[in-house]
Symmetry: C2
Subunit: 458 residues, 2 copies
Amino acid sequence: MDFLTKAISYLKVNEERFLEELKEICTIPSVSTSPAHETDMLKTAETLAAHMRRIGLSNVQVIATQRHPVVYGESLAGKPGQPVVLVYGHYDVQPAEPLELWRTPAFEPTLRGDELVARGASDMKGQVMASLNAVEALLQNGPLPVNVKFMIEGEEEIGSPSLPKFLRDHKELLACDVVFNPDAGMISPECPTIVYGLRGLAYFELRVSGPEHDLHSGVFGGVVHNPAQALCELVAGMHDAEGRITLPGFYDSVAALDSAEREEMASLPVDEAYYQKQAGVPALWGEAGFSAVERVGGRPSLDVNGIYSGFTGSGSKTVIPAAAMAKISMRLVPNQRPDEVYEQFIAYLEKKAPPTIRWELIPMPGGPACMVSRDLPAVTALEQALKTVWQQPVCYKREGGSVPVVTEMQEILNVESVLTGFGLPDDQIHGPNERLHLPTWRRGTEALVHFFINMGQS
Amino acid sequence: MDFLTKAISYLKVNEERFLEELKEICTIPSVSTSPAHETDMLKTAETLAAHMRRIGLSNVQVIATQRHPVVYGESLAGKPGQPVVLVYGHYDVQPAEPLELWRTPAFEPTLRGDELVARGASDMKGQVMASLNAVEALLQNGPLPVNVKFMIEGEEEIGSPSLPKFLRDHKELLACDVVFNPDAGMISPECPTIVYGLRGLAYFELRVSGPEHDLHSGVFGGVVHNPAQALCELVAGMHDAEGRITLPGFYDSVAALDSAEREEMASLPVDEAYYQKQAGVPALWGEAGFSAVERVGGRPSLDVNGIYSGFTGSGSKTVIPAAAMAKISMRLVPNQRPDEVYEQFIAYLEKKAPPTIRWELIPMPGGPACMVSRDLPAVTALEQALKTVWQQPVCYKREGGSVPVVTEMQEILNVESVLTGFGLPDDQIHGPNERLHLPTWRRGTEALVHFFINMGQS
């Protein structure tokens, strides 16, 4: 048997143990947002570190940060000139609440048919273990054909606050040719996916005020411009009847989708019905002239993330609120910049806000969109690997969200990230009954064996 | 000295004691909304009852209700055929919070120039004591020229939940020809005021929902109609560019203001600047074609009393909220009915709500507008009394708010209410540093002596 065949065979032989190891790590409630789980965070990090040592990684460390530690391990026995792949992952998970909606306890991993149900199974303990399993299969059957580093953080679900400093402090340790990030998902079980674009973000708090204090709606109703109403009017005016965003100049720097990319997007197995089902809405909505997949991946959007004013308890209170607030954010595409969007928002408000109210716009952290070159050797290596295992063409996809770590890796380590993953759209990550489709997970692990071998030949 | 002169002279002689008695009752924190003040409520009621007995009222009782007791007392020694006036008042007060904004403690009544600063001084312990002082002055100087009953409740500031049952249970005890309600205020110290109209209320909770649960604004931004945005669009559409309410048929049953009433309203000393100052807004707003005083008193209005959706904490969260909610209420004028407004609201939503969202409209308690006939003998008696003391024409005014007790007195006791009061617009009732203008209060007490004498002659 050649190296590849032996490694693949190793995966099959150890299938049951891999599942047990995944279940074991899923029993630890590594909820990063909750101070009550601090020891669980440390326990998960130590468990991962022990696992890394067991499979033969060296220089394994649990490195403290301001909040939750990063687990590091490496295998650098590759020949000179072989590339260094940094595998990024996170071991923290979302809170499991509401607990009563789980059919089996969130941290008691349970097999249900082909699926493992547990918080973190898909996002992303399963993806981390798949990467480690692939490296183990290679390490146990010959020298690694590539240099591998693992950096598994514990703060992804809370916005990775310690990551930028960690990257700056450990530039040499983390030096690499490319980042492999399996935290993106697949379009469907039959559709291995590489994500090559991520939207950016501009985020604002808009505050509107009118009266000096809350007023009696009987005494002043009809003479005062209600700040909540004025805010609604401003928000309502931010889209035109075609679903286009009306901030002055908003589309000026938007990179158009070329026809080749639109054709490719049209070929993806994600039609309008797919999005409607995923969102659970009575009907889709959005910018006229673009398909759903185009609107999510290749066009900017504007959303109200929260709004608040006045009396919101049960019952009634007849008040004209003194003020109203909305959190409003835009998803950006190349070549939009958050600071430009801020200027456009200000221009909108200067033009549209009536003299009957006062307003204030507070910008919050955001970032530009991010595109990964599809010509990277790692992308080619991954495409080949996925194709080989799935016997299907690879779906190239732009993701609607942002992955700040990708931007930070670019900015601080000066490396690109290759994004993929073996989670499925209906894995219910972040929700109750999160699950991992095990056949897809095993195929993914096999593809990773191919990927690392391909990388060694790239 | 005749009866009137003696009674007025009695007021002067006892001025200092009256003030002390008012201060005493203002020291008790009778905050009806707070369970912590239950014994204070009872203490206030007992103090009032003791005062009633001392001044010569009979059948004085502290009558328990589900929550806070009602204080009752009467003087029915009048000649046969003399009318019975039921004086309505409340001894409960608004909470004093925020305490740090009071220059002197809320329940340590303090003289500052011509003003007594204390929670409840103006709203409405001062008004209650003025009524009792006037009756005392009459009782001490001859037989009362009219039959008087006092009904002082302890739940006005929490919406008088026990009042309807109390009125039904004590119909005979409370039987009267007219209610005298001094819980309305004056336009200015020089402008004695009779309120003859109150707006009604229709109150709703509008709920909009879209996705089955909160969505990631990156993954779905651009394909899902954001429920908070959809709610804003619906709210924004409820007024046209002229400030008119767009619910279908909303103005159909609105009683027009006739030219005589508009002329009278125009003569009141409440111009646009008055409302702008009172509200503390950068500019007024409202229905085109009507003055501020007309819009508040004689035209319906629609306000957002509260709105809520998604993430409203500090910082940012990139969510498309599953749902959004607004509390929306209308102030009604004759001859609008809350149930008609509900139908109009439903018609608006059926016409305007897009197929991309679901909605639900929940009606909450309201009531129609209420007009008091200006031909009532009690109105004439009060106008004469006010004119005599102030040597000014009386301002007849429509109030923008509702006074549910007025409607309940009509419906349950079948009697009209005459509304006046000696509080001023800048008394800061419900706010910190509530105060009572003592010269106006004393003039008011004197006018009440005239009023009761006039009533005996009516």
